[in-house]
């Protein structure tokens, strides 16, 4: 057995062995880019993979500037270069000299193909979505029994409503075992009918980690489920086929917990409010009827038959007052009219004229003699002055 006296010596040997191997010193390989980051110095660090394997790569800025394509995650590429072992961190990587595009990556291709197939079949239609009960008696969870996800879901649900039952169906959530185990979980709950809602959950991971949820079998099992299914695979930006099929997609397992459980406090408050409204409504109803009744009950007409008579009397009395007021003013008007007439009459009083030295003549009957033609010689006439009358005899008439 060879004895390396240090890690550096071992790493140095590995590096040299790789460099000495003509197959690894210069080659090309096809794979799908699964990560791609550009450093501040314009070197690009990335990895390529297929269904089962992955290898890290780097392309330095000078070679990168010669590229005819802008590599991106999911792109199927042919990478040219040589293998290098970097001693300081023990990392094996391809130092790429050239990258060519080979069409869309396999996994993305698979995803798109399945997506289109299921979409065309109408499996994503919202008409098929079942409502999520807000107070499920028991919640079924299909996820790994180890790890943070089930704990997160249980804790979230407990926080919102401590009264809920949770039943976990342990299932692998990565790799080849994932689809059959998730499918049997969904079927188990549908066969036993012992839960009201199913959460299928998995924590965050890479596109490849989550890829088992892009499985046609899982998609069809979820679609066939009579119990509503919530999918919570990965975190916010991750979408897998199950998310499109599920009745509701939650952004995270925790969000699924929140979604499935109406807050106990909120529900309790709503019931209390409704109970209060019920009491208020019936009281208001009775009150309004009572008030309507009181209006009639307290009506004076019902208490005293003389009420209307009194009322009419008051009306009459008011009319009378109005009349009095009106007649008073009529009398005043008349008095003033009379006075005016009196003044005018005074002005016309013949007595007043006589006082100024005039007189008039009348016959024995007191009728004024206005013309000499109405008397003859020897007639007796009276000459009226202001202070008396002179009885006279006509001696002669001239005109």
């Amino acid at each position: 057995m060879f004895d390396f006296d240090s890690v550096s010596r071992l790493n140095g040997y590995i590096k040299q062995s790789l460099a000495d191997n003509p197959y690894l010193a210069e080659f090309s390989v096809v794979g799908e880019i699964s990560q791609y980051t550009v450093s501040s110095r314009d070197h690009a660090y990335f990895s390529i993979k297929d269904d089962q394997s992955l290898i890290n790569c780097v392309i330095f800025s000078r070679a990168r500037s010669q590229l005819k394509i802008e590599p991106e995650v999911g792109m199927k590429v042919k990478v040219y270069g040589g293998l290098d072992f970097y001693g300081p961190n023990g990392k094996l990587q391809i130092i790429a000299t050239k990258i060519e595009e080979k069409g869309a990556g396999d996994l993305h291709e698979q995803f798109n193909k399945l997506f289109k197939k299921l979409q065309d079949e109408g499996l994503f239609d919202s008409a098929h979505k079942k409502p999520i009960p807000i107070l499920p008696r028991r919640i079924g969870v299909v996820t790994s029994s180890s790890g943070k996800v089930i704990a997160d879901i249980v804790n979230t649900i407990r926080k919102r409503n401590p009264h809920h039952d949770i039943l976990l169906y342990p299932a692998s959530v990565q790799g080849e075992e994932c689809p059959p185990e998730v499918i049997s979980g969904i079927r188990y709950f549908n066969d036993t009918k012992n839960v009201d809602v199913i959460i299928v959950a998995r924590g965050g991971g890479s596109f490849e980690d989550l890829f088992c949820f892009n499985d046609e079998g899982i998609a069809r099992a979820v679609y066939a489920s009579e119990i509503p299914v919530i999918s919570a695979i990965g975190h916010e930006p991750d979408y897998t086929i199950i998310d499109y099929i599920a009745d509701v997609r939650a952004a995270t397992p925790t969000a699924a917990g929140e979604m499935v459980i109406a807050s106990y406090d909120d529900q309790s408050k709503e019931i209390d409010n409704l109970a209060l409204n019920l009491d208020i409504s019936i009281n208001q109803f009775i009150d309004s009827r009572r008030k309507a009744l009181d209006v009639y009950k307290n009506h004076k007409a019902l208490h005293s038959p003389a009420y209307y008579a009194m009322e009419q009397k008051a009306v009459v009395s008011e009319l009378k007052t109005k009349l009095d007021a009106l007649s008073g003013s009529a009398v005043k008007q008349a008095a003033s009219d009379v006075n005016e007439i009196k003044v005018r009459l005074d002005a016309l009083n013949p007595g007043n004229v006589l006082k100024r030295g005039y007189s008039y003549v009348c016959d024995n009957e007191g009728k004024a003699i206005e013309t000499v033609m109405s008397v003859k010689k020897g007639d007796n006439v009276s000459i009226v002055l202001s202070d008396g009358t002179l009885l006279s005899e006509i001696k002669d008439i001239s005109n």
């Binding site: 009960p133 089930i150 009264h163 019920l278």
Partner: protein, 80 residues
């Protein structure tokens, strides 16, 4: 008292009927007899909803795939 039909109702259905009952009653358009009936039904529904809200027991279990039983699940063992 709630009858067996009421016990079979889902919580959602009970809440929906309760909301409807309250809104009908608060409209004040029903007759006195109808209003009293609505009130009685409302009180009954409040009791049913409260029961349903409190009846579940908070059991955390896992399916034992070997024999199909359900066993208590200790969440602290899962690392939280």
């Amino acid at each position: 008292m709630p009858d067996s039909k009421d016990n079979e109702m889902t919580y959602e259905a009970c809440m929906a009927e309760l909301r409807q009952t309250v809104s009908k009653l608060s409209e004040g358009k029903a007759t006195l007899d109808e209003s009293l009936q609505l009130y009685e039904r409302g009180v009954e529904l409040v009791a049913i909803c409260e029961n349903k809200l409190n009846e579940v027991t908070a059991r955390i279990e896992a399916v034992n795939k070997a024999n199909g039983t359900t066993d208590p699940l200790n969440i602290s063992e899962t690392g939280v």
